[in-house]
């Protein structure tokens, strides 16, 4: 292989197996090898197998510096591997990431004032997600996740109809009630938004952006002033509200594809102290949330 040219002809199944182990960047380069490879790389079965293989094998941290407008990839030693070139001109907000795919909210992209996009930095491909109405993204809450069971990416959007209405009637919409009163889900495989039942979620408020683990999106929120976890099963598209006893966690995270709750506090106390000295983190890893 080092010399090249003297190698035996490999059967296709072996070649495909090797290609599955290549990083996306190499696949992008090697689609120029021949038509067969170019077509192979976009077949759903190859994509699924490639994903299955690369899952958890290349952990990188994505650091988005909002003020500099830079997005950097860091490795496990917190060293910068790459500075990503951003195809959006202004105001990029990362909603979530799954399998190297980023869900972002961007303004001034291709002249569209606000848009929701899926961005694959490795292939540099961008797919704009259609909007249902003028959404006033700044007041919406989003979640982005992937389920290997249905092999689909989904975006959940909480919105406030009252605010929409007020804006349409050209009234002072800052006076509209706060919080959310509607929710819809977008499926990448169907390319459609679907309205979901909001009823039991009322009156929900969110404290954090969503994290996604094990086919479930989770937000940290408040319902009737009580801290709750709101989880969304990407397969059944059902919301589950889990009350939190005691002090509300400060952050949500993901560890080995499981939801993790963080409490930030001083010493052994677990208040929300923002004193930077002697801050302790406590974490709890949850298993099977919402899959009772």
């Amino acid at each position: 292989m080092a010399n090249g040219g003297d190698e035996p002809f490999l059967p296709p199944e072996i070649i495909i197996n090797i290609l599955k182990m290549l990083p996306v960047k190499s696949l992008v380069r090697f689609q120029c090898v021949c038509k067969e490879w170019k077509n192979l790389f976009i077949t759903p079965s190859f994509i699924a197998e490639h994903l299955h293989h690369s899952d958890h094998k290349n952990p990188f941290l994505l650091l988005h510096d909002y003020y500099c407008g830079s997005v950097r990839l860091l490795n496990q030693n917190m060293e910068t591997i790459e500075i990503l070139s951003i195809p959006f001109t202004h105001d990029l907000k990362i909603i979530g990431s799954c399998n190297g795919l980023l869900c972002v909210r961007a303004t001034h992209y291709h002249g569209v004032s606000r848009s929701l996009c899926l961005w694959n930095p490795a292939t540099r491909k961008i797919r704009e997600i259609p909007q249902t109405t003028d959404d006033y993204c700044s007041i919406c809450a989003f979640g982005f996740g992937f389920s290997s069971i249905v092999n689909d990416y989904k975006i959940v959007k909480f919105y406030n109809q009252e605010k929409r209405k007020k804006k349409e009637e050209d009234q002072d919409f800052t006076e509209a009630i706060r919080g959310y009163d509607g929710v819809e889900v977008y499926s990448l495989s169907t390319g459609l938004w679907k309205e979901l039942e909001f009823g039991s979620l009322h009156p929900i408020r969110f404290r954090t952006t969503a994290v996604s683990a094990d086919g479930t999106m989770v937000w940290l929120g408040k319902k009737d002033l009580n801290p709750v976890l709101v989880s969304f099963d990407l397969v059944t598209e059902v919301f589950t509200i889990t009350p939190i006893d005691g002090v509300s966690p400060t952050y949500l995270g993901v560890w080995e594809d499981k939801l993790t709750l963080f409490w930030r506090g001083r010493d052994n106390s677990v208040d929300d102290g923002f004193n930077s000295t002697d801050v302790r983190l406590r974490l709890l890893v949850l298993v099977n949330l919402g899959r009772v």
Binding site: P8, I15, I18, M21, C32, V33, K35, R124
Partner: protein
């Protein structure tokens, strides 16, 4: 030949004789079947042929003998670590020139561990190769028309067909 046999003799596709221990042969289902055939055969002198050339078979047997103790008895984590390091060195130092032969042999002999290791090694080597080097080792012809190449270049600025 009795069932207490500890090693069997096999022939490579080049006709050379190789010895492989019973425990090492267990890493491969086809080798294991051959072993059983040899053990229970009336014709004890029959030497089975393996359709792998000598240069490759030496390395395949070396891999089997190294992995046999762990595969047959299970081993501690430190052994697993050591074995992983050995695998990396095995792939780095010895098999680069015959990697594709190793791949075919591992596939033919149903040796999952060696197959995955060789596939990963091939993928790692490919990362540093140009498109024309890739075509050469896989015996592939560039079948894009100049229009199609131009279109791909527009979609992926900086992509190369060479």
């Amino acid at each position: 030949m009795s069932s207490s046999v500890e090693a069997i003799t096999v022939l490579s596709s080049d006709g050379d004789e190789f010895k492989i221990t019973v425990s090492a042969a267990k890493l491969s289902k086809p080798l294991n079947w051959m072993l059983e055939d040899v053990c229970f055969s009336d014709d004890c002198d029959e030497v089975p042929t393996i359709e792998v050339n000598s240069k490759t078979l030496v390395k395949v047997i070396e891999y089997c003998e190294k992995h046999a103790p762990r595969a047959n008895s299970g081993a501690s984590d430190s052994d697993a670590e050591e074995l992983k390091k050995w695998d990396i060195e095995f792939m780095k130092m010895d098999v680069k020139d015959i990697l594709f032969h190793i791949l075919m042999a591992a596939n033919y002999l149903h040796m999952e561990g060696l197959y995955d290791l060789a596939c990963q090694t091939a993928a790692d080597l490919m990362k540093g190769m140009t498109v024309s080097q890739i075509r050469k080792i896989f015996h592939i012809k560039n079948d894009f028309s100049s229009e199609e190449q131009e279109q791909l270049r527009r979609q992926h600025p900086g992509c190369s067909f060479d």
